[in-house]
Symmetry: C2
Subunit: 234 residues, 2 copies
């Protein structure tokens, strides 16, 4: 039993933090009075405290109290009793390293399989996949493993970007990078554009939001999946 | 004693493979008849054989034979006897994993300190730094460590890209990513634009090519270093 919203980004261009997801989050966290926030990804290197207070500012509008996981003496116990969890974006390597160091990979995964409402944005979405191997982030710290929660049977490339036909830059496109991944791995990858999210209910994965997603499977040519469609790769 | 060319990219927009570096490489490898090529980074997932033959095509024009390191039964011995080494670009995680698995980190580092002419492009440049932690690549495989050759006292961000003021994309800019790195590490980072390279002679590091470089130090604001200047950070 799973109940997740996995968003490509917390913020769309021109919008404010989580604003575009507000109607969905109002429903998703309807029964939640106190939300546990995992601030480990520290975007721009900001502190756990500041990141948590940024999240609180948005959730004030839904009348939900936000408590940072870093503030608990026993984060495992905190997760066991959580009504809902939100993992924010930032650096995925840092997030995953902290999840391992605090030994909360398994406890968090357990709660995701127990119908607890979960929200991930960017790095927080990435960790719901089989591994963090399709992150766009820089390896600023060395995590003990790239394996993540496996709450969905695929990986997610957040902030998915189409190749720019006018670019003179010679670095690899996102599509090239994901194809390289498939030379060494079979896990399907969902290229999730900013503004899109995946709604997970039990074992059903539905693409939501304004965009199609680009689906990469190891043995197929990449293709577009229209929004409001079920993701059936595994 | 070091003698290295560390290039941001193998190919500049509109040019052919290594063409823009031909005059430098002609001088750099003047005494080399047989060049050892390290094809482990496998750009686009191509085979070691195909990648080596691509390199050979260019070096034909300099009358240099190219032999792939993968083709030796004993790669350590091959490096010990190498007249010169070229490590090509591709995926840095894959390259570093292969360097560790073949136990050639230390032997290669030794040769770089013995005045052997070395060329790196992109991932092959990245590994000359203290660590691979400023790569732009996707973590498609898990290397046993992020530590690299330390032939220069800084890290290099190849294919350095300036922020695009017109972009509507919400993913982190290169500058933001490097600043995040400096929340957790003190190693200086050279943002090396495509077409630029670092010429290393003994312990002198000179920026060459058409562009300035962007220098990131943990405790300073980033700044531009003009071309043909010495890099003095450490």
């Amino acid at each position: 039993m799973k109940n997740l919203i996995l968003a490509s980004t917390s913020t769309v261009h021109g919008g404010s933090y989580l604003e575009y997801l507000k109607p969905q989050l109002d429903l998703h966290f309807k029964a939640v009075e106190r939300l546990i926030f995992i601030p480990y990804a520290r975007p721009g290197g900001i502190s756990h405290e500041l990141y948590t207070s940024n999240a609180q500012k948005f959730f004030n509008s839904l009348d939900i109290e936000v408590v940072g996981l870093h503030s608990f003496k026993d984060p495992i116990k905190a997760l066991e009793h959580a009504e809902g969890v939100f993992t924010g974006g930032g650096n995925t390597f840092l997030l995953v390293k902290q999840l391992y160091e605090n030994k909360i990979i398994a406890p968090l995964r357990d709660r995701l399989y127990q119908d607890m409402p979960y929200l991930g944005t960017s790095a927080g979405t990435n960790i719901a996949g089989v591994s963090m191997q399709n992150t766009n982030d820089m390896p600023i710290v060395y995590p003990p493993s790239f394996k993540t929660l496996g709450a969905v049977p695929f990986n997610i490339n957040a902030h998915y970007l189409d190749p720019d036909p006018n670019s003179k830059h010679m670095g690899e496109t996102r599509e090239t990078r994901i194809k390289e991944f498939h030379h060494f791995n079979n896990v399907p990858v969902i290229g999730l554009r900013e503004g899109s999210w995946i709604e997970v209910k039990q074992r059903t994965y539905i693409l939501r939001g304004p965009h199609s997603a680009r689906i990469f499977e190891a043995t197929k040519l990449p293709y577009e999946l229209p929004t409001d469609s079920e993701i059936t790769v595994s």
